[in-house]
């Protein structure tokens, strides 16, 4: 596929469909919020849906899907790595919570 073809992307009708899908995901998020599920379960579902939304936005709205794969492979793993490294703060957060509970 040439650069021009790969960068062309779909038409507006497709983007409108993507927009509708994103609004539906937002609706699902609001619906789940008022289902009275445990906070951890709600957080898990909201994060999953948020990442799906982000993937759709990056792929279609930002046209990353229609660029050379080298661009995606250069950008995405860097973000994943940083998020993975940030994801190590939780034990300290829980320790802080237990310290605060003990002090009360």
């Amino acid at each position: 596929m040439s650069d021009q073809e790969s960068a062309h992307g779909p038409g507006m009708s497709f983007f409108v469909a993507v927009w509708v899908a994103l609004m539906c995901i937002v609706g699902i998020e609001v619906f789940l919020t008022y289902r009275h599920m445990p906070p951890r379960q709600l957080l898990l579902w909201l994060l999953i849906l948020a990442f799906i939304e982000a993937g759709i936005a990056v792929s279609y709205f930002m046209h990353l899907k229609y660029e050379r794969s080298a661009l995606a492979w250069s950008l995405i793993p860097a973000v994943v790595f940083v998020v993975f490294m940030l994801d190590h703060v939780w034990p300290d957060a829980f320790r802080l919570a237990s310290l605060r509970l003990l002090s009360q």
Partner: protein
Amino acid sequence: MSELEITAGAGHAGLMEESPYGIPSGKLAMWCFVISDAVTFSAVLFAYGYLRIGSPDWSTPFQFSPTILNGIVMTFILLSSSLTMLAAVEAAKGRRKSACFGWLCATTLLGALFAVLHLREWGRMIDEGWRLFQNPTGGSVHFGAAFFSVTGLHLLHVIGGVCALSVIALGYRRDRYNPIDVEITGIYWHFVDLVWMFVFPLLYLMNAS
């Protein structure tokens, strides 16, 4: 001829190689900025999560009306602005200048409306007694700091984006900018929308009462 003369004679073309990504350098620069900003927002959201987990008395004060409802409206506005931005990019690629300008104006207006609604919500919360380190409900004082910091950083990006969109819209109409400049601005605007897709569920829905 000396090597210096050959290089000078070739001009910039003699020194440039094809981009490994097949995109203009401005577009690559915007992608690099988006990645760095994504990492910044990730750090800020992780800090919010850390504060929340570390505070056993965390408040969940947001009622469905008006706060969550306002958040839904703001999400709708921002997603719609991404759609109008896409229309602007498509019009720019098709060399339809007035259509592109119109869609850029629509995007700018929707972004400004988002900012107005957000500031109105801030005003309402401040009237209720919320501050950076003040919680009128008696819960953790970090709630205000986390909420205003995260949403404030996003609001700053929205306002910056609105300014950039105005400049690009006027410049494109006056032939100062070309379609790729519109597309580059679009990448930034979609990123602002993408961040809101995390901010809304994590800061609003997770704090719904």
